[in-house]
């Protein structure tokens, strides 16, 4: 019996995976991608009811934190006459979005985001920081490692501290296409 246990122990040690310490790298800007999606604001007099296009640049900062540079452009009813630019920090709630080693991050996740937007929605009508947003991404399918991610039905609250307005917004989906940190670029 003792012999069998020792044999099993030796086999386990032999086949056990060593920690890939040589592959551990920083997650800062490990993944970079583009985002395209939809955005709609409700109960906000500064936005016409119509359709807004959301364009963005995603950059990974840590295993759970990412930075999004977002642009929201009005398409309908007035074409490209109103736009907002902002930065959002997103934190993943259901595990790591990426790992330091060669393992892929979680394929299904939720995120919460906090950001600041600049636009002309103020009394002076000048382009300046006006709005802070809190956004929830209930379902993010995909990961940087897979090259694609869909953030489904993100929604949140926006507070315009210049006009003291609170509004809500939502998107049908935001699609992320990664150009760095994917299985094509980093994992083979």
């Amino acid at each position: 019996m003792k012999k069998i246990i020792i044999t099993i122990l030796i086999l386990m040690i032999t086949f056990s995976v060593f920690a890939e310490s040589e592959n551990d790298t920083s997650n800062f800007l490990k993944d970079i991608g583009f985002a395209i999606g939809h955005n709609e604001n409700y109960f906000d007099g500064n936005y016409e009811h119509g359709l807004n296009l959301l364009l963005g640049l995603d950059a990974g900062l840590t295993e759970k934190l990412e930075l999004n540079f977002m642009g929201i452009i009005e398409m309908v009813p007035t074409f490209v006459q109103d736009f907002s630019l902002g930065l959002e920090f997103n934190y993943s709630l259901l595990g790591e979005r990426v790992f330091s080693n060669r393992n892929a991050g979680m394929g299904m996740n939720s995120m919460v985001g906090f950001g600041l937007y600049c636009n002309t929605h103020n009394e002076k009508n000048i382009f300046m920081p006006t709005t802070i947003v809190l956004r929830l991404y209930p379902a993010c399918v995909g990961a940087p490692a897979s090259g694609k991610r869909e953030r489904i039905l993100p929604m949140g609250l926006a507070y315009n501290f210049m006009t003291k307005d609170i509004s809500m917004f939502f998107s049908i989906a935001i699609y992320d296409h990664y150009i760095k940190g994917t299985w094509k670029t980093n994992y083979r």
């Binding site: 939809h38 709609e40 409700y42 109960f43 906000d44 009811h49 119509g50 359709l51 296009l53 398409m75 309908v76 009813p77 694609k148 049908i172 989906a173 699609y175 296409h177």
Partner: protein, 167 residues
């Protein structure tokens, strides 16, 4: 003009993939769009493919929309349109957006749109970014214009339309 049209037609016929054999001819879909005189529209559509040609293949589509805004939800309109799938090309250019292989098939739709007051207009939609899978049709950023006797009545953009082909 006639010459260019004929050359275009020959080119389309040459490069279009022949013998498209999709298992289903009909399906239903969901769409999100915005119209210049309205709010955001959320709708459903029913699509039926009539022909099985390798290019300029005809079909019909019915769309019913709800208008969603801060003021509430109301009837947005109904549209009945005939359409032509211009061609079917293996999607190399936009293949990065989908996991499965797709065909690129732009489509032109012409029909009648009745708004919430049942005022009728002639509608034209061009679905440039239209991609076919075995069971799905994806359409992105399709502009449309509604005309009446005075010219352009309204215009808009269909952000996305996903049609599930099942019948």
């Amino acid at each position: 003009m006639k010459k260019y049209f004929l050359i275009s037609l020959i080119l389309v016929a040459t490069f279009s993939i022949s013998a498209i054999d999709f298992p289903y001819d009909s399906g239903y879909g969901f769409e999100f769009s915005g119209k210049s005189d309205s709010s955001q529209l959320v709708g459903m559509s029913i699509y039926h493919k009539i022909g099985d040609l390798s290019f300029l293949s005809p079909g019909v589509e019915i769309n019913a929309d709800l208008s969603v805004s801060s003021k509430g939800i109301k009837f947005g309109g109904i549209r009945l349109s005939g359409m032509l799938d211009l061609f079917y090309l293996e999607n190399k250019v936009f293949s990065f957006i989908s996991t499965n292989p797709t065909l690129w098939s732009p489509s032109v739709k012409v029909g009648v749109f009745w708004d919430y007051q049942f005022y009728s207009t002639v509608t034209l939609e061009v679905a440039v970014f239209r991609f076919l899978e075995k069971d799905f049709i994806y359409e992105w950023f399709s502009p449309f214009v509604n005309f009446d006797d005075n010219g352009v009545n309204s215009w808009g953009l269909t952000f996305c339309r996903f049609t599930y082909m099942c019948l």
